[in-house]
């Protein structure tokens, strides 16, 4: 290989949230860091200022900030006995395609996972007995909420997260989420305001005895200077948030929060529009020596590094491990192997209601503008007499009023075209309210990832193949929480209710609302059931770290980003505080 670059201490593969917070930690510690990102440089003023951003067709419908399927897609099947097909068109998957990754176009819902989510196996066994776990491939994360708390705090400070605490050092605070894990202090910025629909939802769920609160948001509520010295501005409730960039510097993103500081550090170099093909192992196979990459002109090169961090999207993290031949492919028939194990999704439903003669003004919105109850999330309610574990956050949301996207949100039974549709949409655009149930997902043996035998990407490398369908535990959970959401909708006065329970049919990527895929390179304390240890270090190559939602052994009833960010900061600290002083396994397997 002719294009061999100068050695780096650390090479970061993918500069989204995970790569950015890791690069920030590692460069601040004095390490020489090279980040390789296949997307282009994108910034607020040059790429999505207010004169460009409020354009639904371009960003939401055509998804111009997202990675096209022609660059790389995923193949999919429900069961082992089917032939997988490629996802050819836009679907639930929303991969990033720029410096900053999906952190530029995400909605901003900024949750910590609950303490229970990290220890589902242990807690379920202790509270309900091992029989409750039957059919599920449950395993603890190897890290507890208490261990994660300082890293959550650090990420929230960088992101400027708005919200209201419900539990500060064990003390329950009114107005916040009483079920959340303890926090050491309030959110960096106060909670966002309620829209008309959010207030309606809040009042209805309060009357039912639930505990509504404004969700934590990466749409910040007032000006804020983060610990890196970067200034953010207040959210204007513009309604062009998820799928869009932010022209106000008010959505937490690598662009708005990290890159202005990171790019100025002399020990940081970014190769953009350059794609990592795979890591390259040393001859003894026990460590990696760097990564092979290809530029947009098609020129291949090699970046040597002492440590390789794979910080791409969850799917690509798993794919890069497989293409690098690090670890053993998981086999659902035998249960052997760890790479590809515990793939999972997010179990969701939507309940829509209509309110006669109302003006919801849905265009007043934010990606993370919502009121939620956690009364039926995680293990916050007794499952003794229920045929499932887990639950869902139930939120009344005001994320957007984009007219093309919402064109099917009309009263049930309405014809989808002609004057009948025009009449209905002219009325219903202002009269609908939505409740989203965002649920946990529990791992099962049959759901996994491997390389597709047929379909290839633009460089001729195999695509990742996804084998997945809903499992009984999760659909039982969804039926239960969706019923709770319907009760809230009725209490709120919603009529002509539409229930979209996604568990009622086989999973496919075009029907879904959530982009939250997890697992496939999961963390854990046992090398026979996890690909990486609790510091996200590969059990099979100690200088390779794999950072992202690929590490989650199960999904919480929350959005994944803040947990990804906190895990990334924790891994980066372990690398510069411990690993570089004494390279080797950070944990005994």
């Amino acid at each position: 290989m002719s294009n061999v670059r100068k050695r780096a201490d650390v090479v970061i593969c993918g500069l989204g949230w995970a790569g950015s917070v890791m690069a920030e930690e590692l460069t601040r510690a004095g390490l020489e860091v090279v980040a390789i990102e296949r997307g282009a440089w994108r910034d607020t003023s040059t790429d999505f200022p207010p004169a460009v951003d409020p354009d639904e067709l371009r960003w939401t419908t055509r998804r111009e900030l997202l990675q096209p399927m022609s660059v790389e897609t995923t193949t999919f099947r429900n069961r082992l006995d089917q032939q997988a097909a490629p996802v050819r068109n836009w679907s639930a998957f929303q991969y990033g395609w720029n410096v900053g990754g999906a952190g530029a176009h995400w909605a901003g819902m900024s949750w910590r996972f609950s303490p229970w989510d990290f220890e589902v196996a242990t807690q379920t066994r202790e509270r309900y007995g091992a029989a409750k776990m039957k059919g599920l491939q449950l395993q603890d994360w190897g890290v507890t909420y208490d261990e994660m708390a300082p890293y959550y705090d650090r990420f929230e400070r960088i992101a400027g997260t708005s919200g209201i605490a419900g539990n500060i050092n064990g003390q329950i605070h009114p107005g916040g989420n009483p079920f959340e894990g303890p926090r050491s202090r309030e959110y960096p910025t106060p909670p966002l305001k309620d829209t008309h629909w959010m207030r309606t939802f809040r009042d209805a769920s309060t009357r039912l005895g639930h505990h509504p609160f404004t969700i934590p948001a990466g749409n910040i509520s007032q000006a804020f200077v983060n610990p890196l010295g970067v200034t953010m501005g207040p959210c204007t409730y513009c309604g062009f948030c998820d799928f869009h960039g932010c022209g106000n510097f008010s959505k937490s993103s690598p662009q708005a929060c990290i890159l202005p500081a990171l790019m100025r550090r002399p020990n940081f170099t970014l190769l953009s529009e350059t794609e990592v093909l795979h890591a390259v192992k040393h001859d003894d196979g026990k460590t990696v020596k760097g990564v092979k990459f290809i530029t947009k002109e098609g020129v291949e090169g090699f970046q040597p590094a002492d440590v390789v961090c794979i910080t791409a999207y969850q799917m690509d993290n798993v794919r890069l491990m497989l293409l690098s031949r690090v670890g053993e492919q998981y086999d659902p028939r035998t249960g052997r192997g760890t790479v590809g194990r515990n793939y999972n999704y997010q179990t969701c439903s939507t309940v829509t209601g209509f309110f006669d003669d109302s003006y919801m003004n849905p265009f007043i919105g934010g990606g993370a503008l919502a009121v939620q109850i956690d009364d039926f999330n995680g293990d916050n309610f007794d499952h003794s007499n229920l045929d499932f574990i887990g639950g869902a956050g139930i939120m009344g949301y005001s994320t957007n009023g984009r007219p093309i996207q919402n064109a099917n949100t009309v009263r049930p039974g309405t014809k989808r075209w002609g004057s009948e549709w025009k009449k209905a949409y002219a009325r219903d655009y202002q009269q609908s309210g939505g409740i989203f149930c965002q649920g946990t997902s529990m791992p099962v043996r049959e759901a996994y990832l491997d390389l597709d035998p047929t379909y290839k990407d633009r460089h001729g490398q195999p695509l990742l193949r996804l084998t997945f369908d809903w499992n009984r535990n999760d659909t039982n959970m969804l039926d239960y929480v969706t019923e709770r959401a319907v009760r809230i909708m009725k209490e709120a006065g919603g009529r002509d209710i539409i229930v979209d329970n996604q568990g009622e049919q086989s999973w496919n990527p075009y029907m879904q609302h959530s982009s939250h895929t997890i697992g496939g390179a999961v963390m854990g304390a046992d090398p026979t059931t996890s690909a990486i240890n609790p510091y996200l270090q590969s059990w099979d190559a100690h200088n390779l770290f794999v950072v992202g939602a690929s590490a989650f052994p199960n999904n919480g009833g929350y959005n994944p980003t803040v947990t990804v960010g906190a895990l990334a900061i924790r891994a980066a600290r372990a690398i510069h505080e411990t690993y570089f002083n004494n390279p080797g396994a950070l944990v005994k397997g």
Binding site: R5, K6, A40, R42, D43, T46, D47, A51, V52, D53, D55, L57, R62, P68, S70, F76, N78, Q82, Q83, A85, V87, N89, K193, T195, H196, T236, Y237, C238, G239, G247, N248, L259, P260, M263, R264, F268, T269, L270, L271, S272, E273, T295, K296, V299, G301, N361, F363, P403, I404, A407, R416, W417, G418, S419, K422, A426, Y429, Q430, Y455, N508
Partner: protein, 242 residues
């Protein structure tokens, strides 16, 4: 020198690392100080010359007849063609969207099993190719069955054809999935009616006025506390409307 080249040369000059000749990576050290909009993020308005780029006059006649039954003129607003939906779709089909640039169009394709798996028909053809073949098949069908151009059929007859397509019952031959074609037309005509007017449709912001969407505004802080009120906000476009 465009922005990309500028960044590239900046990176090359600033690079302290040894980069082998011929390596095309865009290497960035420091924050790029260019404040000009990136070329590929500049708004790309529809061409306003009055000419059409890809759809022939015959195709536009057929498509206009279909679009105007999907979104007819009525008390809620103008028809699709009055609102500029033909200009919109012509411009879209002439660009990256029409070429299917974002789509994964590699074979093999197994239409039946992919339909079953994905719950929606899958294609190797680009949207422009699907319009061309679909409109030709519909026109041929009208001439064969009704003995007339599709555009000359009475409104009720076109409605019946669209209903059959929506239900997946209209047989347009092996090569055309009539349900898939219906969904494509419906999605695009709604886009033309509700997208920013700079793309050629939503003329006079008629689609936005129909539902009360204020368009490309960017700050609702003065309004968020006014609950359940008809705000009567006048819509704005990203560029001045005609």
């Amino acid at each position: 020198m465009n922005r990309r080249e500028a960044l590239f040369s900046l990176g090359t000059i600033a690079a302290s690392l040894a980069v082998a000749p011929g390596l095309g990576a865009v290497e960035l050290k420091g924050v790029p100080h260019d404040t000009q909009l990136s070329d590929d993020h500049m708004p790309q308005p529809a061409i306003r010359s009055g000419g059409f780029l890809v759809l022939s006059e015959a195709e536009r006649r057929t498509l206009g007849a279909l679009y105007d039954r999907l979104l007819p003129a009525d008390e809620y607003g103008p028809s699709a063609t009055e609102a500029g939906c033909l200009e919109f779709i012509d411009s879209q089909l002439a660009g990256h969207y029409g070429a299917g640039k974002a789509l994964y169009l590699e074979g093999p394709i197994r239409p039946e099993s992919e339909l079953q798996l994905m719950g929606t028909a899958q294609f190797l053809a680009s949207p422009l190719e699907r319009y061309r073949s679909g409109l030709a098949a519909l026109e041929a069908y009208a001439q064969r069955v009704d003995g007339q151009h599709l555009a000359d059929l009475p409104a009720e007859r076109i409605d019946a054809l669209l209903g059959e397509m929506e239900a997946g019952r209209l047989d347009l031959g092996q090569a055309i999935n009539s349900k898939g074609l219906f969904e494509l037309l419906l999605q695009n005509v709604r886009e033309g009616y509700l997208a920013d007017p700079m793309y050629g449709g939503n003329r006079n912001m008629a689609g936005w006025k129909m539902i009360g969407f204020p368009g490309a505004r960017y700050d609702y802080r003065p309004y968020i506390d006014r609950r359940g009120e008809n705000l009567r906000l006048i819509p704005v476009s990203l560029i001045p409307a005609d």
